[in-house]
């Protein structure tokens, strides 16, 4: 792809997300789609984190733990300490990143299925901790979290109070979409930088990378921390949208789904998780009409997809380009 084509496709994507989608939705009057699309945007942020851990050659089934953690950090800071939501957003991300450094230092030594299984267990640990700790209010969860307030810098209001808006769904959609764009921009930049190349060397052979002077321990912790930061931010916004968070808000199923989003989109493509999330989430929603056969059809389609496109949906585009 030439440089100009890249810029054009990014501009087209931004136009679709920020202009075409809201216009189309207000024209068709289906405002419920805002919620769906917001969820897709947030889930794809968390999936992008998982993708980044795939990029260093680790199978991460623990993103649900960080999403849950981020949600609780934000909720507790807002409800108990009266912080502004906008402050808790980076706070939740940073808290998760710090936690992931502490957890990641020992467990990132594990590889393959061992890492996958430990992160799976981590999701369960997070859920059980949320049940057991006094600060999280146990199984009752945290409810009636206030909507995000106004954000102003030097008296200039940048983001209005969500509670005063007549359409907070649109506001949440724009927020989530903006964050998604920012997040994928960060991942794209990271992957195409020197660090990205080094991460790719980890994916292929850690010993070899280490032997020519790559600081593998440092790199993998960094990648894992960025990944968890995304998970925390996504979880915090989810808590704000639903105005509640429970220990069961993010479970093993969610962690597995984050991973599946990456697989479906394609592990070799930065924008794979975004496409994967969109397809999986909408596919599941569309199949809702089939009632009791929803799961059967969904899983059958997934198996068939896997049989014919084991390298993800985006590999289709890649092969046609190679042939043409």
């Amino acid at each position: 792809m030439t440089h100009n084509m890249k810029i054009a496709s990014v501009a087209a994507f931004l136009a679709i997300v920020f202009i075409a989608v809201p216009v189309l939705i207000s024209a068709s009057g289906r405002t419920d789609l805002y919620y769906t699309l917001t969820s897709v945007a947030l889930l794809s942020i968390a999936s992008a984190g998982v993708w980044l851990t795939f990029y260093i050659g680790r199978i991460n089934i623990g993103q649900g733990a960080y999403a849950l953690m981020g949600g609780y950090v934000s909720a507790i800071l807002v409800v108990t300490y009266g912080w502004s939501f906008w402050l808790t957003l980076p706070a939740a991300g940073l808290f998760c990143a710090a936690a992931s450094v502490a957890i990641g230092l020992p467990i990132l030594r594990l590889r393959g299925v061992y890492f996958a299984m430990v992160t799976l267990v981590l999701t369960e640990v997070a859920r059980l901790l949320a049940l057991a700790l006094p600060v999280t209010n146990g199984a009752k969860g945290m409810v009636s979290i206030p909507l995000p307030g106004a954000l102003s810098v030097f008296g200039l209001i940048i983001i209005p109070d969500f509670a005063t808006l007549h359409n907070s769904r649109l506001a949440f959609y724009l927020l989530a979409a903006a964050l998604m764009v920012a997040c994928f921009a960060v991942v794209y930049r990271l992957v195409h930088s020197r660090i990205g190349k080094l991460c790719q060397s980890l994916q292929q052979n850690e010993e070899l990378a280490s032997s020519i002077g790559v600081n593998i321990a440092y790199l993998r912790v960094i990648a894992y921390a960025v990944s968890s930061f995304f998970g925390g931010v996504a979880g915090a916004i989810f808590a704000a949208i639903s105005q509640s968070i429970y220990p069961s808000s993010f479970t093993v199923t969610d962690s597995v789904n984050f991973m599946l989003n990456c697989f479906l989109g394609g592990l070799g493509y930065v924008f794979g998780p975004m496409l994967g999330t969109l397809v999986l989430y909408f596919g599941w929603d569309l199949l809702f009409q089939t009632g009791q056969f929803q799961l059967l059809i969904y899983s059958t389609l997934m198996i068939v997809l896997m049989l014919f496109l084991p390298n993800g949906l985006l590999s289709l585009a890649a092969t046609t380009r190679k042939k043409g």
Partner: protein, 288 residues
């Protein structure tokens, strides 16, 4: 305390049998079979149908569970996993396939057998009681049967021609192929055996705990933990892991009772610490 240890042994014997199937599949193909718990549930429901509904002898029910699951496992390997492994650039892609088959089994089980908890009549009545230890006879029978199956499996792997071929495959796939082991065939047999073990445990346990369509996922997670404790892909490790988890669960539920429902939290935390000190589990080969 004797009671607690007896319960731990009983739990451990079953857990070990579950973990054996998972570890066998992993050793041969490097596939983490997410659908293992669902296979267990399917085995349970088949036994429930044959023994509980049709009223046929329990041995027949157990046989039906094992054979059905073995056939399913063989088909899964031949038509799904083999194809995906061949076509995919990264080995991990099989995980999506495994997760998808887990969902598929969940859906099928729910459609055929419904969401109700199902139980069957006891196979043996009565309770063993010598003052210290109380244990129903059916539990003892199931525990002993589980031990018999474990012993049979280990002996089969150790001394039969098929077992030898599978061990060679697990050790070094390419070398085994060069020595004339029919790789595709033995991989399929291995997958079928792993699935069969899951079905047999399901059939055994339906007589005690019953079965319902929702327990597949949690069983899979437990099986993963046992395999991790012992070391992935090692038969001895799976057995050790099963007994250790069974014992920890039994002791934990008694000792930690007054602190509320924290047994699993403690087990998980201990497991994470253990694995960060010993990344390959008790006897795992390096990097599985």
């Amino acid at each position: 305390m004797e009671q607690v240890i007896a319960n731990g042994f009983y739990l451990g014997a079953q857990y070990a049998l579950i973990a054996l199937g998972l570890t066998l599949i992993f050793a041969l193909m490097n596939v983490l079979n997410f659908a293992h718990g669902q296979m267990y549930v399917l085995g349970g429901f088949i036994s429930y149908t044959v023994y509980g509904q049709l009223g046929l002898p329990f041995v027949l029910a157990l046989l039906a569970s094992g054979v059905t699951l073995a056939v399913i496992g063989a088909l899964m390997e031949k038509f799904l996993f083999r194809t995906v492994i061949k076509r995919s650039l990264r080995e991990e892609s099989t995980m999506l396939l495994a997760a998808a088959t887990a969902f598929f089994f969940d859906a099928v089980i729910l459609l055929i057998f419904g969401e109700k908890q199902r139980g069957v009549p006891k196979i043996v009545k009565g309770v063993f009681n010598d003052g210290g230890i109380i244990m129903p006879y059916d539990r003892m029978l199931v525990g002993v049967l589980a031990l018999v199956f474990i012993a049979a499996f280990v002996l089969y792997m150790q001394y039969s021609r098929v077992g030898r071929a599978m061990r060679a495959l697990a050790q070094d796939r390419v070398a085994a192929q060069l020595m004339g082991v029919k790789v595709d065939r033995y991989t399929m047999i291995g997958f079928a055996m792993g699935a069969m073990l899951a079905g047999i445990v399901g059939g055994l346990l339906v007589t005690i705990t019953g079965v319902n369509s929702g327990i597949g996922g949690p069983i899979s997670i437990k099986a993963f933990m046992m395999v991790m404790i012992g070391g992935a892909g090692v038969v001895g490790g799976a057995i050790a892991g099963g007994f250790i988890l069974g014992m920890m669960e039994s002791v934990g539920l008694t000792v930690l009772r007054e602190y509320g429902d924290v047994t699993y939290l403690v087990i998980f935390a201990a497991l994470m610490v253990f694995l960060s000190i010993r990344p390959n589990g008790l006897m795992g080969k390096p990097w599985g």
